[in-house]
Symmetry: C2
Subunit: 393 residues, 2 copies
């Protein structure tokens, strides 16, 4: 691939005039046409035009076109990229953006990624275990600290706010962080390793950046951003800010509004995969097919592969509980962050047991021992599988 | 409507279990469920739950549900709002958000709107005429200044960058502004009224805000933002910044990725209408049905009405040229900004004549004179209609 170009694949519905649509994209989304007055600038203008590289018919009869756009048309960010590849066209044409190949150094690279998060935690030899504060709304800062204390001493690696919890007058984010900070310190003292708490960011772009700086200045060691609801350029700004040198977890909220439609928008592999890796995410949460969400397994593996191709941590979420750890590791290997919401917080013996059940599951998996209820000793894993099953019905 | 609530309408496809989906939205997108450990917080938790207000079947067999969400769940911004009303749900459920009723004072209100833009320009009695720099890419700062000089003295009200032109190393935004600033000054001296130049913003969220401040400090009198590509919170930050006290024009690029699909995403009336008016836009561009874009007229009028309900300037775009001025004024009245790209820049006698043709069209329209080619005197309007027609074939 020419390093001075960006390649984009568009899929058009059955019966589309792909040749014509591809030309509209290559010309209409770039320099357009010009008349005699600008003849003296012909060379420069032409250098900004896109080029149709290929048009093919897919097996299902849909059409697919690949367009090469000059790198010189964009500023290195996702905002100008999205505007170029799909901006005005999205309002009129029916197409889905299904492929995107950017130069390796395009955009912002996360400062940590999976390797950096592992280094930060001092855990190299197993999947990482992550929990979510629940209930999402209505708890006090002290309630959060109480929950955190339970899971922290059980050995949890990462916890995050629920994504729907913003900075509320009735539950200020910094107050929550301050209540939780001593718990994290105590945990490090006790277990000799950190627990990352990804604090949810909110506000307008300026407030959000300020909040992130304040949190990090007060010791916060990870952040959470609803990237689709706030914009990739907000993520880029966080990931480029020297005052915010902590891992950034990207949440997929709202991604379906861009990616769920069959013939419109951009595919999940782009919104939650490729674009995230060029906008500075260190870890990306995305729907797994283990839960009740009807998320296609093929989309999930495409996201995973896009993240891993650039060292970003893959965090499959939904339906994650200790009983299906073998299934997840079969899909992912151990280079994965297992993100459990109810799968930890709603454990029948409490959140700490929820964490312990994951560790127990990991040990049994390594020892190649059975996950069937009858063969499990009493304890956290037994109680978890008794409640949620082991994925084999 | 209860001022402490946000009402949202969701449309589900034919055959959906709307009751079930509505419950998932009302509960799963708010406090969720909780167990005995949090009984002592029952009252607070319950106050964060959504409520299903209504479920009905539409004429086409699709289902529609209205959910009320507590205002206490969000922080007053669009980021937390979108995360709540559609965040996680968008990844699993099939629904389109088709209605949104926010408290009057929710979010950020544009400081200018249509009235403020009129006041800034000193034009109260006619539609405003707006042009777009073309070609979009490949011109030097001096080229821009040259184009601007032509249209400025012809009396144009507003001009904007093409939305695909970001801050490029080869064409820096501030350099372009500096080349154009003297032309705007000369125009004010000569005609006694301002021409607004909406300069396109780009970069990561932080860079973009800094660029906006620098431009305004150097005299820029309007800004352009691709709101969907950069995020509503970026618009909110601009509109809340005391250093950026100029009208902000919102461009619709990428809105189709959210709004074009029939059964997914959010309707155009929300993405380009309601949400823009609560995020601080002063003027919003959106596709008109006058051009080749196959944009539904019903969507266009829903956007227009949402904008006008909060005093935001409506800027229908696409296919706008002098010959269809009567048609546009029939649809809009004169409280409108007519945004012409090629309709000014590609006028056969040059851009200045393109502007003059609009003024000529306005005068003829007021005098109720014919727009048929045979009855027009030679001049800019005649040349325009000879090239583009008068909308009557």
């Amino acid at each position: 691939m020419n390093p001075q170009r960006i390649e984009v694949d568009y899929r058009f519905p059955v019966g589309s005039d792909a040749e014509k649509q591809a030309q509209i994209l290559a010309v209409g989304q770039t320099a357009g046409s010009w008349d005699a007055r600008f003849r003296y600038r012909d060379d420069v203008l032409r250098a900004h035009l896109g080029e149709v590289l290929q048009i093919q018919e897919n097996e299902d009869g849909s059409q697919q076109a690949t367009i090469a756009f000059p790198l010189a048309n964009v500023d290195g960010g996702i905002g100008s990229l999205l505007t170029m590849i799909f901006g005005k066209y999205s309002l009129g044409g029916t197409a889905k953006v299904v492929g995107l190949r950017l130069p390796e150094d395009y955009g912002v690279r996360g400062r940590y990624g999976m390797a950096g998060i592992r280094a930060r935690l001092g855990v190299s030899d197993r999947p990482l275990f992550m929990a979510i504060f629940k209930p999402a709304l209505g708890l006090s800062a002290e309630d959060h600290a109480g929950i955190l204390a339970e899971v922290a001493l059980a050995g949890l690696d990462i916890i995050k706010d629920d994504e729907i919890l913003p900075n509320l007058a009735g539950a200020p984010t910094r107050e929550r962080w301050r209540a939780c900070a001593p718990i994290l310190e105590a945990r490090r003292d006790r277990l000799g390793r950190d627990l990352l708490y990804a604090v949810n960011l909110s506000g307008n772009a300026q407030e959000l950046q300020t909040l992130a700086r304040q949190l990090v200045a007060e010791g916060a060691n990870a952040l959470l951003l609803n990237v689709l609801a706030y914009g990739y350029p907000v993520l880029e700004a966080l990931a480029s800010d020297p005052e915010i040198a902590v891992p950034i977890f990207a949440h997929p909220a709202l991604a379906g509004a861009f990616s769920a439609a069959p013939e419109h928008g951009l595919s999940y592999a782009l919104t939650l995969g490729t674009l995230m890796t060029h906008a500075g995410a260190d870890a990306v949460l995305y729907p797994a097919h283990y839960g009740s969400l009807s998320f296609p397994a093929a989309e999930e593996s495409a996201i995973r592969d896009a993240l891993r191709a650039r060292g970003v941590a893959a965090v499959p979420s939904a339906g994650v509980q200790p009983g299906i750890l073998p299934q997840i590791l079969a899909d992912y290997g151990s280079e994965v962050i297992l993100n459990a919401g109810t799968g930890i917080m709603d454990h029948p013996q409490g959140p700490a047991a929820g964490v312990l059940a994951f560790f127990e599951a990991w040990e049994r998996y390594r020892a190649q021992e059975s996950f069937s209820l009858e063969e499990l000793p009493e304890g956290p894993l037994h109680a978890a599988i008794d409640k949620w099953g082991n994925g084999h019905g």
